[in-house]
Amino acid sequence: MERPLTKNFKTGGEPPTIRESESAGGYQAVRKALGGMTPEEVTEVVKKSNLLGRGGAGFPTGLKWSFVPMGEGAPHPKYLVCNADEMEPGSFKDRELLESDPHSIIEGMIVSAYAIQADIGYIFLRWAYKVAELRLRQAIAEAYQAGYLGKDILGSGYSFELYLHTSAGRYMCGEETGLLNSLEGRRATPRSKPPYPQVSGLWGKPTIVNNVETLANVPHIVNNGAEWYKGLSLTDDAGTKLYGASGKVRRPGVWELPMGTTIRELLEEHAGGMQDGLNFRGVIPGGASTDFLVEEHLDVPMDYTSIQKAGSRLGTGTMIVLDDKTCPVAMVHNLEHFFAQESCGWCTPCREGLPWAEKLLKSIEDGQGQMSDLDLLESQCKLLGPGHTFCALAPGAVEPLQSALRYFREDFERHISEKRCPWR
């Protein structure tokens, strides 16, 4: 099984240096793209490869790039931003890439920037990823020294400057437009679209924001072609995926597997199944802002389409497993506490609705809930739906809540009728 994203990972210790990376095939794609392909050809191969954004939304990457104005009349500077603000609870896959193979990200950025003819790149890194920060700085310096960054890269005529920016630490900075506002030094509130960042992004200029894992795929697609990439997967969604598992499983971790690996395989084979004495109750497959799936869904392939058909979202592909000795209400309360706190405060439903939901859940968990609270929570889930709020934070926030109410309703009702948390 091919594992392009993680093949250079070394267990423990330092990530590959630029020389080590080059001998393992690193920066070949830079040579290939800048040496003999037009920017449009790079975009085309990425489009054909069916690479979907790995940040959670799953939008076709090549298509996203194709909206960037190109040619003589295009506004400059154009920007490529790597969204390394991994703050989705339960997600730690980008961290692995950043810490274990930072050069792969840099290479991915150079090739992607070339495709859209970006002049400047930023890696927007979560403040808490201190190790990644050090390693990225080192890698960027190495890349500059080797001539892969800066003016006239490898004599191609293409120039690209890359900067590392560490964020001040808010979940909203992981939202594409919130990130752009934060990078500009402003409050991290989102922007409405249209206009899209491709048209008016960072400082009003054409900008593409891509996730770390997305960018890591690009050099391999350029090197090996679209068909190869599609062939790595088990389903229609292409490539490999960095999957993760946390919760009370035997071996929490991150694994690169073909796209479309089932939940069961991930859970039982790679994560080693549930710890002793615990049984599987449910799972949120893609990080905190996705819907619960339960026993009946264990054989669903973990790709964007299949998970959506089952009533959830692939999101980041890092799942949080709920065992039968953990209170689902407490788990959801914890998640909603996070979301309520991370609400940027811009739009009414999220700003006022999430804290209210959190207060209701706390009340239920403390044994002071009322039956009408459940109806109220359900109507809040409907109210905070997509399109109702300004951005996707709130709709994501209510996904675990609405599915918990569906699948674990008796647990909520027991809290209310017994006036206590039965798990405590």
């Binding site: 808010r170 909203m172 409050r187 922007r191 409405s192 249209p194 206009p195 048209v199 008016s200 400082w203 009003g204 309520a340 706190q341 991370e342 609400s343 940027c344 405060g345 811009w346 739009c347 009414t348 439903p349 700003r351 006022e352 609705g353 999430l354 804290p355 209210w356 207060k359 009340s363 009408s372 109220l376 109507s379 109210l383 399109g387 109702h388 709020t389 300004f390």
Partner: protein, 904 residues
Amino acid sequence: MIHVDGKEFEADSQKNLLEVCLSLGMNLPYFCWHPAIGSVGSCRQCAVKQYKDENDERGRIVMACMTPAAEGTRISIDDPEAAEFRESIIELLMANHPHDCPVCDEGGECHLQDMTVMTGHAYRRFRFDKRTYNNQYLGPLINHEMNRCIQCYRCVRYYRDFAGGRDFDVFAAHDHVYFGRHQDGVLENEFSGNLVEVCPTGVFTDKTFKEHFTRKWDLQTAPSVCVHCGLGCNTTPGERYGELRRVRNRYNEDVNGYFLCDRGRYGYEFVNSERRIRQPRLKQATEQDALVTATNDVLRHVAGLLDGGRPIGIGSPRASLEANFALRTLVGHDRFFAGWSDLEAGLAARVLALLRDGPARSTSLREAEQADAVLVLGEDLTNTAPMLALSLRQAVRRQPMAKADALRIPAWDDAAVRELIQDEKGPLYVATPSKTKLDDVARETFRAAPQDIARLGFAVARQLDKRSPEVTGLTRETAALAKRIAEALRNSERPLIVSGTGCADQSVMEAAAHVAWALCGTGIKAGLSLTLPEPNSLGLAMMEAPGLDAAADALTQDSADTLIVLENDLWRRVNSSFLESLLESAKHVIVIDHLENSMTASAQVVLPAATFAESDGTLVNNEGRAQRFYQVFVPEADVLESWRWIQRLMSAKESAPPLWSDLDEVTAAMAEAIPALASVAEVAPPSTFRLVGQKIPRQPRRYSGRTAILADITVHEPKPPDDPDTPLAFSMEGATVRPPPTLLADYWSPGWNSVQSLNKFQAEVGGPLLGGEVGVRLIEPADGAAPAYVEHVPAPFESRPNEALVVPLYHIFGSEELSVHAGGLAELAPEPYLALNPDDAGRLGLAGGAGADLSLEGEQYRLPVKLDPSLPAGVAGLPIGLEGLPGYTFSGWGKIRPAEPAKE
């Protein structure tokens, strides 16, 4: 065409659905959208259902304010899901909102109340503790009550984006978002008062109103005009119990739009001042200066004086046209003088000539907002004509907007437009002696003495038109600057040149006119805006009466012995020695005015004049727009309109019945006698105008206490006071249909109790009022006229070894005569000072704060020095109107020395 709930409507596809629906009269609730600052889509209140086509039955929720009214758009406002959504938004806002309507100032005119009722939300399901905040001290004008905040973000967007303020911001996140300053302190922006109308709840309220609060429905109001500068912003003052309670904005699409400056909003307290003259008085020369206060006695005495005597009348640039005309009629055309110095008279006459005799159009404030290139010569607009400064802050966004147009980002999509444009600004050049608050949005600034500012202007004009006189001897930098300015103006479509009387120098204004005329000569429609300091400066100029020098001559040459002064403190007009000799030559001095001042203190006869809020009249603003202000309330018994006092004097003198029965007759007589003012008769409907046979009430239907107010004096219900002069009534009874906008004071519509009810009175939101324009322009440019270019330009400024050229400086709070009597504004007025360039100060041996003695035009002043690095060498600045300083425009050389220590 768009479809709303099954019906078809015409719509402008450049607008968003919220604007269109509101303009069509539909009731769609909203908070964060504001016509002046566009949409952001944050509050989610204006949700409607949008359908893809006629077959789509499900639809989806969209925000009307963020959806273009594109051809074929189909929406439903009444859709149950959309209605429920809107109700839920209110429920969420109400979760943390303190239920303090009964004690909240906003109650009764609260947009949140209105929208809550509109959506139908009633019952509370939120059972937890509400989040609360600490409040801040924000100065004497605005009260802060953060618990009421619904986080609509209007305040910060208005304050920072529209008004350019920097000391107010939004903080924190989630349900703890806070709007305020980094630290408690006075809000620095001169337009902060608009927060009380921009805020849809009671977070920001009028602190001065709090001192004498009453509910909106208990206020008596009338359409009025601000009297604190020459721009003529429209206002709605409100009164109860004989006390003026507050001033609110009155929308005028051409003039002030949605906003007022803080001087206009808060200066009204002079009407309630302790210094108001409430009774007529006559100082008898005998019996230890005994005072006679009975009106008839005083009038009889004055009639006697006039009958035998040779009176002259001194008019005022802050009195109405009618009052000035009445005085002119009393004393005779050739014995009427304009109550300003020859310097001011010359400036005002020049303004008139420049606006009349050239092709450049005198612009309104709204047109100034639309200008795409601006040159300001000599005026510190933020202090002399504040709302024009606010207009120019919007004007600098015009040229960059082309980028948004090119990318098809609608102008109302405020966040997207601002993101695209970033800090880009169109050309604004500011040339003044000292720094101004517009400097931060100016492309370039130029600091120089007035004559050099004029020379720069002439140099720009010369670049544009070789018929304009040449300027020689410019420095290389200045010549290059003139070229850049000319280039920027030449490449624009609607340039605006601004100047005014602030520098006390005619050539500065001439230079401005030359630039505007030169541009017109190249086929570009340039506008010219010349500011004047007082509400009727231009009106008085149009009466073409000679100034005070001629009046003094008349008195000294003994052709006159009695002086009648109308609403004018002459000590603020000319220096004291000149005035002393003028007053000495007058045997009798009669003053008609509102407030005690040095003039009234020394006069033999004082007649208490009604203020703008207690009388009717017409004022002409700097644009040349004649506007009517209406009486808000009846003053106490002895206070009378100035023109009525004068009429009574005429009557008493001639022993004849009154010449005019009402104000219309005065206006008509004036329009006939003075051709320049002929159109004034069209400014307002006649006093006989009725709507469905009824007068228009000044009081809302719910006005309370009509009989209780006077119950301590008499239990008999008095007849409401008569108003023979206007179609308005001092009553709550009258026509309930919409009056013409000139007569419109109070906006109210069923379900819309707040200032947002204005939407119902506009032909389209943000656009013209239904029923026509307010005010009549009296001056139009001479199209196609060959410009009256001057022949010579001023010589360059040359500093003198022992003197400094002292130029006037202005303060929005403190320089103007009437507003300084308002407590809140007096608090904000600076202490007197003398501004010096640090090098000059150093040479004179003066440190910042040190005392300096200044001799200027025969007057001596002792003042602390304020170091101002922006002043050019050899130029000093003296603030007009502050305590002990001249209240009048001056221009001259002054000697400055370190203050002599007091001799033992």
